[in-house]
């Protein structure tokens, strides 16, 4: 490894080790028939099926449905969690009222709400949205509150010194001051939303994308499809994490001087 000079290539190679290991193991299991073939199809077979579904557009269609199920709810959670998080972070009374409530909700897995939400909204896309919303919101609001509370109090004094209004202090000092932590929250919130999305789609399968795909594949014993669904979910997660969030987070932290 030390002969490889390019840092990016080196990181990618190092990071692929567990994946390669798993694929080799998988192939071994297949070759030696440690489990029956219908339970675990060969890597090559799964790859072929993946290619087929990619070419005929099935995967893109599934992804598109899943995006439709996730993104509106995620964006709404993003906006509301930041607004409410700032309010809670700034106002002590409000914080004292809301904190125990948030703490209680935080411990309930978002999927546990599904039976209750179905009761009111039925098997609809709204039900999926609500689950995603709860899941993303709960992660993001805590980061926002903590970001706001960790804002340097002297920054606020400096702003008060020039007679800035409360609203302007929030806009010009507290929000940018809390941004690094808010960014981390958004990253965690997306991860959380993405995970519960698949769960919600399995349960509300009429509107399901990837979750439904996995769930229905098992009834026809198509475990190759189950695996493809899992891979796709993981790949999307990896892309978001490595190419989107880590970059944005790093850019903020570098500018904010937390990492140089």
């Amino acid at each position: 490894m030390r002969y490889i000079k390019n840092k990016n290539i080196k990181n990618i190679l190092l990071g692929s080790i567990p994946f390669v290991f798993l694929i080799v193991l998988w192939q071994l299991i297949y070759v030696f028939q440690w489990v029956p073939h219908w339970m675990l199809p060969s890597p090559l077979l799964v790859l072929k099926e993946f290619y087929k579904l990619l070419i005929d557009g099935t995967l893109f269609r599934l992804l598109f449905i899943s995006m439709k199920n996730a993104i509106p709810a995620f964006i709404l959670a993003l906006i509301t969690s930041i607004l409410l998080g700032i309010l809670i972070g700034v106002n002590k009374t409000f914080r004292k009222i809301i904190s125990p409530f948030l703490g209680a909700i935080y411990l309930v897995p978002s999927l546990a709400w599904i039976p209750f939400i179905i009761l009111f909204f039925g098997f609809t896309r709204e039900t999926i949205w609500i689950v995603i919303f709860i899941s993303a919101f709960m992660k993001m609001i805590y980061s926002t509150i903590s970001g706001v509370r960790n804002v340097n109090p002297n920054w606020i004094l400096a702003a008060k010194n020039i007679g800035l209004s409360k609203f302007k202090i929030i806009l010009k000092v507290i929000l940018p001051g809390a941004l690094p932590e808010i960014m981390t929250g958004i990253r965690l919130g997306f991860g959380s939303a993405w995970r519960s999305l698949v769960g919600a789609e399995m349960l509300i399968s009429i509107f399901g994308g990837l979750g439904k795909f996995i769930w229905t594949a098992q009834w026809t014993f198509s475990f190759d499809k189950v695996l493809i669904g899992i891979f796709l979910i993981a790949i999307i997660g990896l892309i978001m994490e490595e190419l989107v969030f880590k970059k944005i987070e790093k850019a903020t932290l570098v500018k904010w001087g937390n990492i140089s």
């Binding site: 700034v90 004094l157 020039i162 929030i170 941004l179």
Partner: protein, 269 residues
Amino acid sequence: MLDLKNVSMSFFENNSEFKIIDDISFSVKDGEFICILGPSGCGKTILLYLLAGFLKQTKGKILFLDKEIIAPSPERMMVFQNYVLFPWRTVSENISFALENSNLSKKEKEKTVNKYISLVGLDYFKEWNIHKLSGGMQQRVSIARALVVDPKLLLMDEPLSALDNQYRKHLREEIEKIWLKTKKTVIFVTHSINEALYLADRIYLLSPRPAKIKKIYNLKHKRPRKLNSLEIIKLREDIEKEMKEDFIKTKESDFVSNDMENKILNVKL
């Protein structure tokens, strides 16, 4: 321009009184450079916060231009010990922050900001990010931010104490030059005898907490001062003696700790 009349400040916690400032009175004339000299944790920063209007004294009166201080105002600008700059803003953006509330046009703002960037000698670093600057440069930005609103009174809270020795001397001279150029009234809080001797028209030496005025020194010496002149050495010896007496007597519990300071300040939106 500034009159303190029997100012006392206490902090109450669990029904017990924590006395920080005890009956301080003094007056400051326009354009004077005043140093408040006192041991660490004696409450001198709290005194500065009273003048800034961040806190209200429990007893006495503080008159600024014959009016009582009730709230912070850009007429009295604070320069903080740890610079307190905004890392997401560049040097010039940090300075223009102070003009956030002013009615100047964009162009006028830019012109004013540039003027003060030049005054503190940071032209080259105008568009730099804050964390790339040294501590001394950051403090210059902070000074420029305070001056850009053209305040009548400049409140400086140990602005040099976080810097290394060499730079401290340099910035001390710089502050003197800026003061001579801008003719601002300055209240400069410090625990460094040399800084006070170099900069002050008048030194108020404070006792340990609760802070009282222990002694007043008027310095009419020509500027820039040489700290190794005989008169100054004598003054230093006298101040050192006074401070040492106190130092031996003080207990740990007498200090206003940072923690305590934050509690007293209790910064809310």
